[in-house]
Symmetry: C2
Subunit: 346 residues, 2 copies
Amino acid sequence: MAISNRQLIYANTPSPAIDPSLTNGTFKLNTTSIPDQIPNDKVLVRVHYLSLDPAMRQWLTAKRVMRGQSIAQVIAVGSGLQSQYKVGDWVVAYSGWQEYCLLGPKEAQKVVVPPGCQPTDAMSVLGMTGLTAYFGMIEVGQPKPGDTVVVSGAAGATGMVAGQIAKVKGAKRVVGIAGSADKCEFLVKELGFDAAINYKDKDWKKQLKEATPEYIDVYFDNVGGEILDACLARAQKDSRFAICGAISQYNSAKPQGPASFMNVISQRITMKGFIVFDYAKKYDIALKDLSTWLTQGKIKRKEHIIRGGLEAAPQGLVSLYEGANTGKMMVEVAPVSEAIGAKAKL
Amino acid sequence: MAISNRQLIYANTPSPAIDPSLTNGTFKLNTTSIPDQIPNDKVLVRVHYLSLDPAMRQWLTAKRVMRGQSIAQVIAVGSGLQSQYKVGDWVVAYSGWQEYCLLGPKEAQKVVVPPGCQPTDAMSVLGMTGLTAYFGMIEVGQPKPGDTVVVSGAAGATGMVAGQIAKVKGAKRVVGIAGSADKCEFLVKELGFDAAINYKDKDWKKQLKEATPEYIDVYFDNVGGEILDACLARAQKDSRFAICGAISQYNSAKPQGPASFMNVISQRITMKGFIVFDYAKKYDIALKDLSTWLTQGKIKRKEHIIRGGLEAAPQGLVSLYEGANTGKMMVEVAPVSEAIGAKAKL
């Protein structure tokens, strides 16, 4: 019996905001069917959790099934792959925004769950966001004992890990910048940040100044715009600015550069943009460190799960850009209770 | 007989442009007298050439004799310094904008003129601008054989040396950006740049694109603003942007950040601000290289001398910000013909 597969297609260019409506909005719903017969060199997976990521705004290029990573479960295996996969295996894959997907062996990465970890970690602390935090902080930011480290988007999937890594590496003060009092409380009380600033407070710049009495040695930037600007104005001499993202600018028709850019000269700042894929050769080392820290409780996980199935993804993405999430944002396409043998694994 | 000493005092804050008038302008003329008796631990120098530098806009802080470097000649030596200095020695010093100055031994650096070089080189290729070009290009830009290197403010004292150093280091293409057709011709015909772009041409961005078919590996920035922005938009992956100055922004009441800043992420650009003084421990090596290249003709000098005495300095500074100079801009406070034994030395 062919499986009916619902998918979300990128259909209309945002102007410039993403329109989450499924009627003439940015995405449209489409239904295909996946034939019974699995090709020899493919596995059929069922998508359980879609990842929502700030970079997605830049993935709106080809008008096709929306690109995206997911945690999925193998439900059928082509005859040529039966030594590699079995039904019930969990994988992480760029399945895109759909309920089912046929994947080649290189497209479906089996999730090996280290002791004390869980499959969805493969999409957060032990996934792209955790690795992004790791390389941005360790290779670009290079915090040293005694340093003051500031992280923007600090309650997001990448930021929360970046700040915790700085602590592991002996930073003297780790300061998070986030968009609500709840997020700030989470950062300080649950994750052990030394201070957190709600950038929606009127006096946030004053708070930033007070929270960085010895200025900023390392800044991990997820947001760009005005917050990057304020951190440039608080930069310590020879500071390192790891430029990871600029979520404040992605939906802007006319991006703004940092007006305090001249501090790059006066404070001899190194600003370096980076993309996690450039460090692929070091993923193994990074994942070993991250899973150790996760197991030891030195890094804590936090998931923000959107319910409502595939259709909830567009509104979820809009919410991500509005800063609704604390921790890694995912869309639950199919609950764990429906997974094959899931209770034993998740 | 006491010597009458005219000096220019920084008197009024620019609003925001520098006003070169000596009547209620940014600077005012003052006359003091220097007593006959030289203190034991001082030398008295006569200033011959004042250096005009883009950084001066940021030196307008204390309301005192305008800060500035000069090439000066020792005309009297205190009794305690006669083993170190003799009348007629040339020195480079932060004398400020005045005709005469009393200097301590650490404030007057004797100019040792390498064979084939001349005393005013100590304020250009073998001075702060040449050293700035050297460290910015070699330590920050790090051009490799085959690289495309772009220099802005390329006909200025620092830029012209920076571009020539890139050639010495084997860059495949060196492209200068300057503000007139004459400057561009100078860069290509006299200095051997591969291309030069007049940013006052309407189609300068198109010219920049055509001049960088393999994009930009190293950008040495003296100007900031729109040109930095255009170079960010042409950046090659893993490119290095040496941020030396932002002359387009110094006189701006509201500086603009680079709007193409997000390319820092997509192209993994490293932008590093630097200040020459941080490399003081390496000056000896740099000066050895620079004087060798100058003697060998691999680097050519170019001086732009403003006549009219001390009073011409404020207008000279305004002209510097207007981009009037090709090469190192200096104000002739006293002609060489008036120097002690000068004909033999200059």
